[in-house]
Symmetry: C2
Subunit: 472 residues, 2 copies
């Protein structure tokens, strides 16, 4: 049975049950997504102030068989926040639940509402000399609820894990409109199935997260940042192994950048200061965080010397101060913007077993050449085996010239990643973009279990319809 | 509809579908559990050699509506591995799937079958200069499948997380007998609902784990161990905060022991060498693991000096060598055995927000006094807020003398933990022992979701019937 639209009659009934000004017409910003691939159908948006109001909204949708889409910062890259067609759903924004409810420095815990901006959570932790390690390009606008619902990744996963690893407890509204009060501040709690981890990664299809108890980490006493030139992804992986042998968990970030990234930056963002005079084929950005008593610059110099001795690394820049470290990071962080300005044929968020990364890079190029002539910008979180492998037209051509090849390019790269034991969505999720990929590459037993769980918790299919799974 | 028994007729049919000698009569060791509280009904046990044979067994049970109980090392403390009544279930042991299939040192990944013994996994990691950090008293007999199904805890959770945090991928047989091939070696994989984390903590009620891709960690370059005397649990928590401020994540273990523990050891295990001449009221065992360039003994001396200066710590012993460190750990590790020999009225596996630990300890004593006269041995993983708060008769009396008070003692302590935002099962799980506790203290929305998930994945209720949830 198809869902009913969140039309004016539904909105009128719902508005009468909510405090004034909780329901509005969606604004254009609620209907856009960063890649400009989809545009949402215009309609109504609910802006509840707390879990109770959220529950009331969800119950009304459940009673009326109206679909709803939870909306955080809207920074997702796979269309999980957009309904481009079908009966118009109700958007449910977390933006009014943006408080940091409490910080418990001695417990290393922070309680944030779903609408809290990631940068604000980081700042609140820093104010208490703690670290909230989740960090990614959109941290100035991404909100906690969306980050957790999509199990966001970013640059510190190597050391601290994904978003899901930062969570002790959740408060959420389930598809029947009941509130799960699970905001535990516990490191250990083995009392039944782990709903936290089920809601995290479900991308709003099993409930709406309204608040989270987040784990804070100690701040390293000192950090150091370096750019190291390596000959190949293989050499970069040897360098990573060397770094971890010498520095253990102190390696916080290990990012790979191809020379193409530096070329794109020079072309599209010429004012951005580039650290290399001539960028090497492959650059690794490494960041380390050390406890008291150790000097990060010395540690990075030692690492460079050892890598150089082994022939892994032929050039390097070690940041001499915080400003220079920021400059190094600015290069890495502006690559997605440069990519956007160049215009990709297709973008990929691949992960691989570390031992297969070099095979992927070696095989992907020739496989693409069999389809056509492209440029590739490969960069990403190498320490996690996570490559953003993006395919571009040759100079003078446009993505539109390759429209017919887009599917073939995607399938070719995704098939290769799958064959090597990798994932076709490392950190971005499934959203609406990769529903077909999940069907193609997902394990059949897992898919059947997912469908059974979805049907059990959301029998009408009202939660983020069309995302992750095709239902019915 | 009740389940059917795994009787001789069922066994005969099943045996015909399996390789010779896969089905046997259960031995006494398969029907016991460490606390001697339950005894399993005698019957049949399947000993499959791989996931395919396990799947065949599960399918046969599903077709015949026969219950089955997954069996690992049998070390669980809440009766999850024992069916004391009802239609005899089929036991399904993982003991023949004990291989470590592969180690990938450069990836920091190890693939273990479910029947692999924890100590063997630790040794295989160590052989490659890596660390598998999960560590607990029963590591010489506990098996990977059971450890993951129960999300085991232990002494290194503070630094490395629980069992679930060590897992990248799983292979498992679901209740319909399909195999989920999810042995991914990926740090990031956001492709759909996280079945891993659902099976982990489900205690065999949603499937049988047959193998796991485990995450290895770098080994600290050097470790140090100390016993520090503190005046109270409150002071111990201040000491923990101080240690983490100075040493960050390097604090690997932070265990609390009451003087009672040392008294019990002297009484029941007089040959065990005790480090203190006279044990203080409260002792903390702290272990640190440092990267190259730092000296653990120096770091512990500095910590002691700083703690002493702040009045947190009035005495301390820093292990001078590995033998002495082992001696310190032996004390901590023998406390459960001493407790068994003394004989508890009831044992509790409580966790609390760190900020509530002192309140719990302060309130629990007087609350117990209102019930009767007891001795308490409180020890545990303080860094995780996890207290093993065990209640004993006064000298000269026996647990049997308090049989009628047992329920009241448990309810009193569990109510208190619950009121303070704690958990009544920090690391042991629900099993059969705490099904009632889960119903009493569990969040209603979470319980309803758990029941819906259980029904969706195991509609006949054949997987570990009676554990975790009462079904039907």
């Amino acid at each position: 049975m198809p869902l009913c639209p969140a039309d004016d009659a539904f909105a009128e009934t719902l508005a009468a049950r909510l405090p004034p000004d909780t329901l509005r017409r969606a604004e254009p910003r609620h209907l856009e997504e960063p890649r400009g691939r989809w545009h949402g159908i215009s309609g109504w948006i609910a802006l509840p102030r707390n879990a109770e109001e959220t529950a009331l909204v969800v119950r009304a949708c459940a009673e009326a068989r109206v679909g709803l889409i939870p909306l955080g910062g809207g920074t997702g890259l796979v269309g999980g926040q957009i309904a481009p067609d079908g009966p118009p759903p109700l958007l449910v924004s977390t933006e009014r639940m943006a408080a940091i409810r409490a910080v418990y420095p001695r417990e290393n815990v922070l309680i944030a509402e779903a609408g809290a901006i990631l940068a604000d959570v980081q700042a609140a932790a820093e104010a208490e000399n703690r670290l909230f390690p989740l960090s990614l390009a959109s941290e100035g606008s991404a909100r906690v609820g969306g980050l957790l619902a999509t199990n966001a990744g970013g640059v510190n996963v190597l050391r601290y894990g994904n978003a899901r690893d930062q969570v002790l407890g959740l408060e959420a509204v389930l598809p029947d409109g009941t509130i799960w009060h699970g905001l535990k501040r516990l490191r250990k709690d083995n009392t039944g199935y782990d709903l936290r981890h089920l809601l995290m990664g479900a991308e709003g299809t099993l409930g709406i997260i309204t608040a989270a108890a987040l784990k804070l980490s100690p701040r390293p006493a000192a950090t150091g940042t370096a750019l190291l030139a390596v000959a190949s992804p293989e050499a970069a992986l040897d360098l990573l192994a060397l770094a971890r042998d010498r520095l253990g968990e102190a390696v916080s970030a290990f990012e790979l950048m191809a020379r193409t990234g530096f070329d794109f930056l020079r072309q599209t963002l010429p004012d951005l200061r580039q650290p290399w005079d001539a960028a090497p084929d492959w650059t690794v950005l490494v960041e380390i965080g050390l406890p008291r008593g150790l000097d990060p610059q010395e540690a990075l110099e030692d690492l460079f010397a050892a890598a150089h001795e082994r022939g892994l690394c032929n050039d390097g820049l070690i940041a001499q101060n915080a400003g220079q470290a920021q400059e190094f990071w600015a290069v890495r962080e502006h690559i997605p913007e440069a990519n956007r300005r160049i215009g990709a044929v297709s973008s990929h968020d691949i992960s691989l077993p570390l031992g297969e990364v070099a095979h992927f890079v070696a095989e992907a190029g020739p496989a693409l050449e069999r389809i056509g002539a492209f440029r590739v910008n490969c960069f990403g979180h190498l320490g996690d085996g996570n490559l953003h492998y993006n395919v571009f037209p040759l100079p003078g051509r446009s993505p539109a010239d390759h429209r017919n090849q887009r599917e073939e390019v995607m399938t070719c790269l995704h098939d290769l990643a799958d064959r090597l034991g990798g994932s076709v969505s490392a950190e971005h999720g499934i959203g609406r973009l990769k529903v077909g990929d999940l069907e193609r590459y997902g394990d059949p037993a897992k898919l059947a279990a997912m469908r059974a769980i979805k049907h059990a918790l959301d029998p009408q299919g009202i939660m983020n319809p069309g995302a992750v799974l095709r239902v019915g």
